[in-house]
């Protein structure tokens, strides 16, 4: 149980920071592609008999870079590229799992997450990845803001747009790996979008939004964890449903507040 709490908080930090970029830069679909492609790495881990999360780390970063480079340097439409990587990554995972000897018993926990089964070794990995994410965002904050707001203007004033974009995709890949144990490959996209989307309704400051969405993520995960325990439901799915419901509540709340207090006029 203590591992579950720690895993929840570590997951909330990663998705709180990176989810903000996913939401404001509107790169939800490519994040979904990265998340699903990671299953190829899980499968490869099973096949090689190595910790699947560790293999997924390298596999996911590679597919994120692949998606980013192919969609930027060719004239293929970006969503087409994402769709292909998305499906091929998952298909590879299925083939790899099929080829692995023995019965892949905990496969489901990678697909749908099981926060109650996170081993301490994976917690350490999650902590390291969180630290890398926080450090890179701290260093490149200004650049990530520039490419999220206006890539074209960034290019003109000398922002290394492609480098920053690919770096951001790698950070999304790391976040996916952090989240796999908690909500699973299929549901990762929920944690990358919902906490940040809720936070966005209450602040116009990107840094505050990161802080807020981290806190919101912690609340979502703990609520989901508690409910899944009380009702004996799958933890990953319960966390996502709690998040979805609370998103709707916050949306309605925000709309009501906005209606009562019209947007203040400038002085």
């Amino acid at each position: 149980m203590r591992n579950a709490l720690a895993a929840g908080i570590l997951a909330a930090v990663a998705c709180g920071i990176i989810g903000v970029y996913v939401v404001v830069k509107k790169i939800v679909f490519i994040s979904g592609g990265i998340a699903h492609a990671s299953f190829g790495g899980i499968g490869l881990g099973f096949l090689l008999g190595i910790n699947p999360v560790l293999v997924a780390l390298f596999f996911t970063v590679a597919s994120a870079l692949g998606m980013g480079i192919v969609s930027r340097r060719t004239r293929l439409p970006q969503d087409t590229v994402i769709g292909i990587f998305w499906a091929v990554g998952m298909a590879l995972g299925i083939i790899f799992v099929g080829l692995s000897p023995g019965y892949a018993g905990d496969l489901f926990s990678y697909l749908f997450g099981n926060i109650l089964l996170v081993p301490t070794s994976d917690l350490v990995l999650m902590l390291i990845l969180d630290a890398i994410i926080a450090l890179v965002v701290f260093l490149l904050y200004k650049g990530f803001l520039a490419i999220s707001f206006d890539e074209e203007f960034g290019t003109v004033v000398g922002v290394p747009v492609e480098f920053l974009y690919l770096t951001l995709l790698c950070l999304i890949a790391l976040t996916v790996v952090v989240l796999i144990r908690v909500v699973g490959v299929i549901l990762v996209i929920a944690m990358l979008t919902i906490p940040a989307a809720v936070a966005k309704q209450f602040t116009y400051d990107l840094k505050k939004m990161m802080l807020l969405s981290t806190l919101i993520g912690i609340v979502f995960i703990l609520c989901g964890l508690w409910l899944s325990y009380e009702l004996d439901l799958a933890s990953g799915a319960t966390i996502v449903i709690v998040s979805g419901v609370l998103f709707m509540v916050s949306f309605v709340l925000r709309t009501l507040i906005a209606r009562r207090r019209p947007i203040a006029q400038p002085p």
């Binding site: 707001f149 206006d150 960034g154 003109v156 939004m209």
Partner: protein, 251 residues
Amino acid sequence: MANKELVRLEDVWVHYDHVAVLEDVNLSIKQEDFLGIIGPNGGGKTTLLKVILGLVKPSSGKASILGGTPQRNRKFIGYVAQNSLFDRDFPISVQDVVLMGRYGRVGLVKRFSEDDKRAALEALQNVEMLDYKDKQIGKLSGGEQQRVLIARALVAKPWMLLLDEPTTGVDMPMQTEFYELLARLKHSMSIVLVSHDISAVSVYVDKIACLNHQLYYHGSKEVGPDILEATYKCPIQMIAHGVPHRVLKEH
């Protein structure tokens, strides 16, 4: 002060999917120019600006800024893209939008300094938007946003300002104020203004060029009738695109 050449386009052709958007365009823009480029939508106006900035590579011909490649020297140009490009709902304050213009001076990892922040406030003051510095960008009207984007272009102290359809979505009283702002700025930098709004442009600019795949450069605009006559020499396809002649006659 020598009237130095800032931008030069030589025999520039641009094709998108084998369709020519710019055909053999030659253009020279000098330090003291206030140039209006008019022409129908789809005539290649935005493409022309992007060629100058090195965002679009010509299929043949050459673009240069201050004698160097656009990629190297575009930092000397302040670019104001078409109004509608960014997300109105983006969580960013007016001041942070303007600060982005300083990026080229600061580099990848370093933070913005006090100097950068002071420059951002000065630029906002220059466009009379200082009071709005802490507002979220989407809370401003179209005309106010346009001013902020000009401040963002000015904050790097450019030699030239490139404006792409700057009055789209700006109401009439704000448009007049906006052109007066440009009239003030033109004393300290070269300005290139792209628009399909021929009437407004011809009042304020000093030189006019017409662009409809090919560029017809009319040189300086001494008095009203000159530009009138010159624009009539525009190719018929531009007139056929619905630019009303009577608008020009008013001058």
